[in-house]
Each structure stands twice: as structure tokens, then as C-alpha cells.
């Protein structure tokens, strides 16, 4: 009863927020509502018992993507362009597609029906046998890191490719005097935010520790490499937001972080190659150790570690390059202001 009520409320709110996002012109408000949308989605996932997905959605959808949207908006402008064309044709296409999709759902089995195709092929084996075959309490980790390790490898490669793409498109060669000017701006900012700075300093160790907990607790509860990487990266974001990018660049060496991104994915691939050398198939952890279950544990630990390294460092790379662009813009504006003052 209460579950039904929560589901209905959350879904209604989702629709309301989505309509508000579509109708709003101020992009900052839109980005903030998108953050709320992420939180709502994640709450809904929790209500549906998909805890691991909710974890990822909370960290990525509500946290990091909102932050990146803000950075982009500061570079592109705050209000939406007025619509010049008539949206009738688009509306027609969307309505037809939507009604076709709804028509398609009529053929689908009911939610949670035991004879649904998704519950008849591999799912029973995952649920019944994973404890003997993999020996990991959290079923999601067993599926993600062992049964479907090759899919996960593909996902990590996608994340890595995104990092490379951002580097190729957005990275700018930096000069030392640029950093000096930016540092001046940041210093003046620091003086004004003493309380935020102190609280942040106290929080960051907890966030990093919590990220490690999520990384290694993934076998037993919700969590794993993806979530841990994002949480770890968000601690670094928080540092960069409050202490300035040039300070953060001194703490986090950019070439090392690029290396870590590559090493993470290399570790993942190497686990696969080693298991092939030991006589199994690619990413078959049973052969990594004399005992199959111990082999599974070792393999899952190593690949989660690789995933965590790659995700964290790619997130840091993306954020630093986005925010670096924004800071360059700001610096140019500041120089113009100084010139204007001199002219006066």
C-alpha cells in the first residue's frame, strides 16, 4: 500500500518536473531541475529495489552531470534561444511514435510476471547458481563483474574513449603566467569563503574513505568500481570548486591522472589475458587460482579496481578540461575589466 503510494507520488513528480524542464527558458533553472529529476529517478529506482542502479544514478545523474551542465552554461549563455519554427510537425511525429510505443507495450507481459521472457532464460541461473559459481553475496556484482565481464569491459572502454574525446577536443596548452593570473582571482575568492573551505576540508577525507568503502564493499552490498570512481572524483571536484583549478592541478598531476585512466583499463584487459594464458577463456576467473571461488574473488577484485581507476580519472579529466575552458574565459574577461579600469 505505502509502496504503491510512494511509486505514484514519485512518478507524478517526475512527469511534473519533466514538463517544467521543457517549458522553462532559464537554462540554470533547467539544469537545477535536471538535478532534481536525477534525484527523483534514483529514489524511484530505490523504491523498485534496484539499489545498484540508484547508486550510480545518484552519483552521476544528480551530481556530476548537473555540475558539468553548469560549467557548460557559463560558457554558452544562460537563456534558451527563442523558437522560430512551428513545432507542429515535430509534435505530430512525437505523438505518432509515442502512441506506437504505447501500443507496443500492450503486448508486453505484466510487470513482475513470472513467465516474462526476461525471467526464463539466464536469470534463474544467475539467481540459483551464482552463490556456488561465483560466491559473491551481491548478485548484481556477480552478474556485472563475472557473468557479463566482457560487457562491462566494453562499458569501461566507452568511458575511456569519452575521456580521450574530451582531451582531444577541449584540452588547451597552458602557460605558467596563465596560472598566475587565475591564481590571483582564486585567492581573492578564497578569502570570502572561509566557512565553506573549512567544512570542505573536513568532509573530503570522509568522501575519499567512503569511496574506498563502496569500492571494496561491492561484493556484499550495493556498490562497485563505477560508483566508487564517481564518488572519488566528486571529492576532487569539490576541492577544485573551492580552492581553484590551479591549486587542484598541483595536487592532481594531469599527466599522472591520464596514466591512471589507461592503467585501469589495462589492468582489466590483463586479467582477461592472464586467464587465457592459464588455459581458460577470456575473463574466465576460475583459472586464476587453484580454487575456482578464490579465483572468482581475485578476478572480481582486480577488475573492479581497474574500473574504479578508469572511471575516477576519466571523470577528473573531463571536469578539469571543461572547467579549464571556463576559467580561461573568465580570465580573459577579468583582463578586459582591468584594461577598462586603466582606461578610466
Amino acid at each position: 500500500m505505502i509502496g504503491l503510494l510512494i511509486d505514484i507520488t514519485l512518478l507524478t513528480l517526475l512527469v511534473g518536473v519533466a514538463i517544467a524542464i521543457a517549458r522553462m527558458k532559464d537554462l540554470f533553472a533547467v539544469a537545477m531541475l535536471a538535478g532534481i529529476y536525477g534525484l527523483l529517478t534514483a529514489s524511484f529506482f530505490v523504491a523498485m529495489d534496484a539499489v545498484d542502479v540508484a547508486f550510480t544514478e545518484a552519483a552521476v545523474g544528480a551530481g556530476i552531470s548537473t555540475l558539468l551542465m553548469f560549467v557548460v552554461i557559463t560558457m554558452t549563455g544562460r537563456s534558451e534561444d527563442p523558437v522560430r519554427h512551428k513545432p507542429l510537425l515535430a509534435l505530430l511525429v512525437v505523438t505518432i511514435t509515442g502512441s506506437l510505443l504505447i501500443f507496443g507495450t500492450l503486448d508486453m507481459p505484466y510487470f513482475g510476471a513470472p513467465d516474462a521472457p526476461i525471467h526464463t532464460h539466464v536469470a534463474p541461473r544467475y539467481i540459483n547458481d551464482s552463490m556456488q559459481e561465483v560466491g559473491v553475496i551481491n548478485l548484481v556484482t556477480a552478474v556485472l563483474a563475472s557473468y557479463r565481464a566482457f560487457d562491462t569491459f566494453g562499458e569501461v572502454v566507452v568511458v575511456f574513449t569519452a575521456g580521450i574525446g574530451v582531451l582531444a577536443l577541449l584540452s588547451v596548452a597552458r602557460r605558467r603566467e596563465d596560472d598566475a593570473v587565475i591564481e590571483l582571482v582564486n585567492d581573492s575568492m578564497h578569502e570570502q569563503h572561509l566557512i565553506l573551505r573549512i567544512v570542505t576540508k573536513m568532509l573530503i577525507p570522509f568522501i575519499l574513505l567512503f569511496a574506498l568503502y563502496v569500492q571494496f564493499h561491492g561484493d556484499f552490498g550495493p556498490g562497485g568500481g563505477f560508483q566508487a570512481g564517481v564518488i572519488f572524483a566528486s571529492a576532487i571536484f569539490l576541492y577544485a570548486l573551492l580552492f581553484g583549478l590551479s591549486t587542484a592541478r598541483r595536487v592532481i598531476n594531469q599527466s599522472i591522472i591520464r596514466l591512471v585512466a589507461a592503467v585501469g583499463i589495462l589492468l582489466y584487459g590483463c586479467v582477461g589475458v592472464v586467464s587465457m594464458l592459464n588455459g581458460g577463456s577470456f575473463l574466465d576467473y576460475n583459472v586464476l587460482s587453484s580454487d575456482p571461488i578464490a579465483g572468482q574473488h581475485l578476478g572480481i577484485l582486480l577488475i573492479e579496481w581497474g574500473v574504479g581507476c578508469t572511471v575516477a580519472s576519466v571523470m577528473v579529466i573531463i571536469f578539469f578540461n571543461f572547467a579549464g575552458r571556463q576559467e580561461d574565459n573568465q580570465k580573459a574577461q577579468n583582463e578586459e575589466d582591468i584594461d577598462a579600469n586603466r582606461a578610466l
Binding site: D26, R78, H193, I195, L196, V199, M202, L203, F206
Partner: protein, 125 residues
């Protein structure tokens, strides 16, 4: 009449949850009904932290499991640090960027028309 310890804990927990719920709703009404940003901030900033504290303490009393209590305690400590800090930063930023409190009754009556323009006035260059 004698009360055993479990009943007392149960009653305490229910009491905490009840106060937390009341504060939640009053904060929600406050953020919706108050006339300008600073009064809304007051409503939310005051009730939010205490409501979170009360509900979390109420939950702690419900469960004897040590790990769960520690996690709840972590959330509580983080809420106690984060909420006032965020409120402080927000109010400071709003005040320094020229958002003025509504001080007069007549202004409250006109605030609907007035507030419509504020979003554009505050837009950074």
C-alpha cells in the same frame, strides 16, 4: 503499571519521528508561503536540520544493529555539518549580490510583480 525498556524506546522513537514529520511539513509550508527569499531561507534552514536530526534519531532507536546505527550517525553528522554551511553560503551569496529582503507590508502586496523582474536583474554579465 510497569513499562519495559523496549516499549519506552519504541515510544521515544515514535515521538522523535512525529516531531521530525511535523518539522518537515512546516518547513515545506514555509518555503511555499513566505513572501521573500530570506524568510523562506529561515523556514527551511531552521526546520531542515532539526527535522533530519529528529527523524534520524528516531530511526536509530528503531534498530539495534551496530552498523546501521553507525551509518545513521554518519548521515546525521554530515547533515549537521552540510546543511548550515550550505544555508550560510547561499544567504551570503544572495545578500552580496544585491537581493534585498522585503521589509514593508505594501511591498509584500506588490512582491508578485516585483519578483518577476528580479531573476533578470541578478543575471551575471
Amino acid at each position: 503499571m510497569t513499562l519495559d525498556i523496549n516499549t519506552i524506546v519504541e515510544i521515544l522513537s515514535g515521538f522523535c519521528l512525529l516531531i521530525g514529520s511535523f518539522l518537515c511539513i512546516s518547513g515545506g509550508v514555509g518555503i511555499l508561503r513566505f513572501p521573500d527569499f530570506y524568510t523562506r531561507m529561515h523556514a527551511v534552514g531552521v526546520t531542515d536540520t532539526l527535522a533530519a536530526g529528529m527523524i534520524l534519531v528516531g530511526l536509530m532507536l528503531q534498530n539495534p544493529d551496530a552498523l546501521v546505527v553507525i551509518k545513521l550517525l554518519m548521515i546525521l553528522v554530515m547533515t549537521l555539518f552540510i546543511n548550515p554551511t550550505a544555508s550560510h553560503a547561499l544567504a551570503k551569496a544572495a545578500f552580496h549580490n544585491g537581493l534585498m529582503p522585503v521589509l514593508d507590508d505594501t511591498e509584500i502586496l506588490n512582491s508578485k510583480e516585483r519578483n518577476k523582474t528580479t531573476d533578470n536583474d541578478l543575471e551575471p554579465k
